[in-house]
Subunit: 222 residues, 2 copies
């Protein structure tokens, strides 16, 4: 059976879980706490990061984006990367936007301070960073609204890795209670559609490290 | 004519320049100083980062990795991404390794402090960061040696984006004079082969911001 080493607090892990579910590929999930040194995990991925996918034949795939592209290469149905080179370039640009810019400006300051610190070190959250993340998120929610005003989904006429990546980051910030949905109704409508997909349900149903999510987190009519 | 917005100090820009040259695609280079706000450039790429490729037909492509995948999609000859899904996954894993881990541990601390600060702000380099980068580079040069002991190139039997990405990061650290080649002869032999490729020559021949590179920088028999 295929195995996925992942962690609930890793947006990259969430993306691969959703992608596997969208492509109807079954897997055994294994939670890996990457902040605890684990030689057998480092033998799989010397970078020491989740997610890592191990195929039933034993092939080891590391790095979330390499895994997503591999899934598209090997299991192209349904497609999650777009249908022509220009659309694929737009999907990849937006994936990089959320994995790099959104991650740096929003996910890291909020999720690191409010959730990861609590799980890993018990350290005190830095409220300046949380405030910065809360201020930065508005630009991104406006950008989502701008994109879906022009297209049905973020990168074009079909749901792609761009939507999945954005939604996985937002789901973690939402778990921390810091997405101002009421001020961004278009982004909220787009997220509601993704939330209602069966591939997204397992993410919404799990509690992370005994931290109770806000009431609306798993609610499809939030 | 195709246009590439780039900067000499951006490893991502260097990668796309080498890829275009390997695929024998001509382009007009345009230097973009991303630290100076430029509305017309932001209209091309709201993230404000180089490289950005504008095809002759007007298609705008942003994000280095999206551009590299687009080039492979649209101009597959010569291939730079590997020949089957597993090799492509290995290429992408190593590209992510150098663009994320090597960049964070080596390129940023050294190139930011020694070159970018001098060009952008004139600020004083932080010698603790430079020392950290110099200490971190050994693991990566040993990893390169470990990989090419098992394979001809970093990801397999052919030169790929993995080699190009690693070499572009190293070329900037080498410009700063901080690659301890003599202690890592296998990595040096691998780099010497890449250095001698015609696609790499333009990078080696240019001076960055009137900073003289070390004598061995452009020397093919360094």
């Amino acid at each position: 059976m295929r195995k996925l080493y992942h962690h609930e607090l890793s947006p990259a892990s969430r993306k691969v879980r959703v992608a596997l579910a969208e492509k109807r590929l079954e897997f055994d999930p294994v939670i890996e706490e990457t902040w605890v040194r684990n030689e057998s995990f480092l033998a799989l991925n010397p970078e020491g990061e989740v997610p890592v996918l191990v195929e039933a034949e034993g092939y080891v795939l590391a790095d979330a984006w390499a895994i997503c592209e591999y899934l598209e290469d090997s299991y192209p149905d349904p497609p999650l990367l777009g249908t022509d080179p220009l659309m694929r370039a737009e999907v990849r640009r937006l994936v990089a936007w959320f994995d790099r810019k959104f991650n740096r400006e929003v996910t890291e300051p909020i999720v690191q301070e409010k959730l990861i610190k609590r799980v890993v070190s018990g350290g005190t959250p830095d409220s300046r960073l949380i405030r910065a993340g809360r201020a930065n998120i508005h630009t991104h929610l406006r950008y989502i609204a701008w994109l879906i005003h022009r297209r049905r989904w973020l990168a074009g006429d079909m749901m792609t890795y761009a939507d999945i990546t954005a939604a996985c980051h937002l789901s973690l910030v939402d778990y921390a209670g810091d997405v101002p949905w009421e001020e961004h109704p278009q982004a909220k409508d787009w997220y509601a559609i993704i939330k209602s997909r069966p591939s997204f349900r397992p993410l919404l149903e799990e509690w992370i490290a005994n931290i109770r999510p806000p009431r609306h987190y798993a609610d499809l009519d939030f």
